[in-house]
């Protein structure tokens, strides 16, 4: 900070205020809203990583979920109360199916998931771009985006606040994932497969079946996050709105930092969101560019990653099924 010729205390103060302060805690609300997709995508990555399957294609599943959510919400002639859950459900199904496909390619044709999930981002992203550029485009606006979803079919703000109700959805997901991993047989098998797949297989776990389910859950979470963003924040699918902020990639970092533990994902996700909104605040209040907060973020990742690796042993490994 001093290297760039700024007063560190002032800048960091601005950053903290930018993350949590503001009139009526507006910045806190911004941080929480930003945390929704980050925690959600962190959870999507963590679910796969925890069982040792490397789904790094969350972005593709996120985008497909987003566009699916928009299509359903725009076209389903039903009351909003029904449309919202159906749109989210459809998005989760599509995202899950897309990740499931990567598992299928791995188990059936020995194409490493590490690569397929990554490559499958492009068709998903391009398909969504095509849809909003042509058949689904809101011709009246100059932007590549769909029509606006009718107000009764969008996720409401939480009572009297600026908070997206996606926050509740994500908190429920985190709690559910934590419960599943710690308390259920399925979660036990996930953990054992993640720690030592040979052990799990030897002990009678059908690792392939588990892999299909875990990848579906991971992709479904990503798809659901896409729909929650579309229905709760943008109210339409805007090209690039889910990919530009790098939610999926930050989510992967969050999952790695958290050792793929859902509660850790929640904390790490909030932290990343705070650093980001804080960075905006710092830029507004001082003349420190936002890029500095990104540098800071990178430094923190490096430091914490070094330490967490030291403490928790190895992070989940990739390409397990081969």
């Amino acid at each position: 900070m001093m290297m760039t010729g700024h007063d560190p205390l002032q800048a960091y103060g601005a950053m903290v205020r930018g993350a949590f302060g503001g009139r009526n805690a507006a910045n806190l609300a911004a941080t929480l809203n930003r945390a929704v997709p980050i925690v959600g995508m962190g959870l999507a990555a963590a679910l796969a990583f925890r069982a040792g399957f490397f789904n790094i294609g969350g972005e593709g599943q996120l985008v497909l979920g987003g566009i699916t959510g928009a299509v359903v919400a725009l076209n389903l002639p039903l009351p909003g109360l029904l449309v919202i859950p159906l749109a989210i459900l459809a998005a989760a199904l599509v995202g899950g199916a897309y990740a499931w496909l990567a598992a299928f390619l791995d188990f059936r044709f020995r194409m490493p998931m590490l690569i397929t999930t990554l490559l499958m981002i492009y068709p998903a992203r391009l398909l969504a771009s095509y849809l909003v550029s042509h058949p689904l485009r809101d011709a009246a606006s100059g932007l590549t985006q769909t029509l606006r979803i009718t107000p009764d079919a969008v996720l409401p703000k939480l009572m009297g606040t600026r908070l997206s109700s996606g926050l509740i959805v994500v908190l429920l997901l985190v709690a559910g994932a934590h419960w599943m991993i710690v308390k259920t047989r399925f979660g036990y098998r996930m953990r054992m497969t993640g720690l030592n797949a040979r052990f799990a297989r030897y002990g009678g776990v059908d690792v392939e079946r588990l892999g299909y389910r875990v990848m579906f859950l991971s992709g479904a979470t990503a798809g659901l996050v896409g729909a929650v963003q579309v229905l709760g924040v943008h109210y339409r699918y805007i090209d690039g709105s889910l990919t530009q902020p790098l939610y999926a990639w930050i989510g992967i970092m969050v999952a790695l930092l958290a050792g793929s533990r859902p509660l850790g994902v929640l904390l790490a996700g909030l932290f990343f969101a705070a650093v980001q909104t804080g960075g905006f605040g710092m830029e507004r209040a001082t003349d420190v560019p936002r890029e500095i907060s990104q540098v800071l973020q990178a430094l923190i990742i490096l430091l914490v990653a070094a330490r967490s690796r030291f403490q928790f042993g190895n992070p989940p490994e990739s390409g397990r099924a081969n």
């Binding site: 259920t184 047989r185 720690l195 030592n196 030897y202 002990g203 776990v205």
Partner: protein
């Protein structure tokens, strides 16, 4: 003449435990001294102190009568000590000569003098009959040869006292014999050798004398010629150890539990792993499969366990044809398995003991209901098993990786025996396990048999096969080449078959 090496009252305390308690020993020049003791007896701590890796709290080290203080291995090396570790420290991509001279290279204006290095390594190898080509790349050499390179490294640095930590753990019997030849030749040349092990046959075969450690203290030093395995065992374990078990033939009317017909496994590396194999194991008997490592035993077990696809043939357990079932379905049909690779397959080392002991039980109605685990019952299940099988731990929530080898083996055994399957496949059940634990494991296996279960024992340790099996079959190059009744089988007879020679 003062002894080549003398330790006086070495004491080392770690928090909560005295690792070495007033250990004294003296080794003469040219002597081969075995240092024996069970896992955790304090052998490694003592050697670390001797080698300067650790400082004693009390006590003295004397080399040829001179008081020494080692603050690092470099000090120890300077005083003529050399240590060959269990895990080799070599550069696989460099030549033998480059590896040996590493650390004190002959140089010519700053550049390694390859010729000089090769000459001196060749000369040294010649002197001690090590038969090593200094130009060979280490990566292409066998484990036995690599170990000789480690010894050569020590000699090159002028070591007079060689310490070998469990040197035979990684060797084949042939490599072991040639190592022993080399060590005898070194001793005859005036080198002093300290040999750490817990294998008594090796102590008897190689050493001049042996010092036993138990719980950190010396329990006795004996001349090998005047002692026997029984006495040494008592010194190590503190009591008589009975590794002979009661053999018996199964009741004539007992049912076959495992039956294998015409099993053939697909090729691995050019030849069929297993050809046309028939085998039957009946209730109430232990059938031991003997054979040198790599003759298809691993593949056979994987095929029975469901970890490897079969090409043709039929496997059935308790009347259920299992050849095409999943691992889980086979286990439900009545089999359990103690795998050869305990750490890589049998356990999740980073997971707590509770999770390790839950594997295979997560369908059990008392532990899980509608897919939801009863964590209290899971913990209780683990604690029961840990107590019942006397696994030494502080808590059931410890991770499996913190346990010693013997305790890990008991952990696997506890879980697999608790399944109460009518067929137990036990692969190398006591590999890397000390004598006390071996005895317990033998007892557990025999008791399991006596309850009317069938055990398929696979071991490359002939002593173990002979000690446990009611019936012995010998495997050679993927086929069963002979069968002997357990009670009357001799080492010679089994050994003949193991080499592929028919009777």
């Amino acid at each position: 003449m003062p002894p080549a090496l003398e330790l006086r009252d070495i004491t080392k305390r770690f928090p909560g435990v005295v690792a070495n308690d007033r250990v004294s020993l003296a080794v003469e020049e040219g002597e081969i001294r075995a240092l024996v003791g069970e896992n955790g007896a304090g052998k490694t701590t003592l050697m670390n102190i001797l080698y300067g890796l650790d400082q004693p709290d009390e006590g003295e080290i004397l080399i040829r009568g001179e008081l020494c203080q080692f603050h690092s291995p470099l000090d120890a090396i300077r005083s003529g000590l050399g240590m060959v570790h269990q895990h080799f420290m070599l550069f696989p991509s460099l030549s033998v000569a480059e590896n040996v001279v590493f650390g004190c290279e002959p140089t010519h204006s700053g550049i390694l003098d390859q010729q000089a290095a090769q000459r001196s390594v060749a000369a040294l190898s010649e002197d001690f009959g090590l038969q090593i080509d200094p130009r060979a790349r280490v990566g292409s050499l066998s484990v036995g040869v690599r170990q000789r390179i480690e010894i050569l490294k020590m000699l090159y640095r002028g070591a007079e006292i060689l310490i070998l930590d469990e040197p035979t753990a990684v060797l084949t019997p042939q490599e072991r014999d040639s190592l022993f030849g080399i060590l005898r030749a070194l001793a005859a040349n005036g080198k002093t050798i300290i040999f750490i092990t817990h294998k008594l046959p090796e102590v008897l075969a190689l050493s001049d004398s042996a010092t036993a450690l138990r719980d950190g203290a010396v329990t006795g030093t004996v001349r090998t010629a005047d002692s026997d395995a029984q006495e040494m065992c008592r010194l190590m374990v503190g009591r008589d150890v009975e590794l002979q078990v009661a053999k018996r033939s199964p009741p004539a009317d007992s049912e076959p539990v495992l039956s294998i017909q015409n099993l053939t496994l697909p090729e691995t590396g050019g030849r069929a792993a297993i050809r046309q194999l028939d085998l039957e194991v009946r209730a109430g008997e232990i059938v031991g499969i003997a054979g040198a490592a790599g003759n298809g035993q691993t593949e056979l077990v994987e095929a029975i366990a469901g970890l490897r696809p079969t090409a043709s043939g039929r496997i059935s357990v308790q009347g259920t044809v299992t050849s095409s079932l999943s691992v889980g379905a086979r286990r439900r049909a009545g089999q359990s398995h103690v795998p050869e690779d305990r750490d890589g397959v049998g356990l999740a080392l980073e997971a707590p003991l509770t999770d390790n002991l839950l594997m295979g039980f997560d369908n059990h109605p008392s532990l899980a209901h509608l897919g939801i685990l009863n964590l209290g019952a899971v913990r209780q299940h683990a604690e029961d098993l840990l107590g019942q099988f006397a696994v030494k731990t502080h808590s059931a929530l410890e991770s499996a990786g913190t346990l010693s080898g013997g305790n890990r083996q008991k952990l696997v055994l506890a879980r697999e025996l608790a399944h109460q399957a009518s067929l137990l496949i036990a692969e190398q059940p006591t590999r890397g396990v000390d004598i006390g634990a071996t005895e317990q494991i033998y007892e557990l296996l025999v008791e399991y048999r006596d309850r009317g279960n069938a055990i398929l024992l696979v071991s490359t340790d002939l002593t173990e096969i002979l000690a446990l099996s009611d019936r012995i079959v010998v495997m050679f190059e993927g086929e069963l080449v002979g069968e002997l009744p357990g009670p009357s089988a001799t080492e010679e007879a089994v050994g003949m078959l193991m080499g592929g020679g028919g009777t």
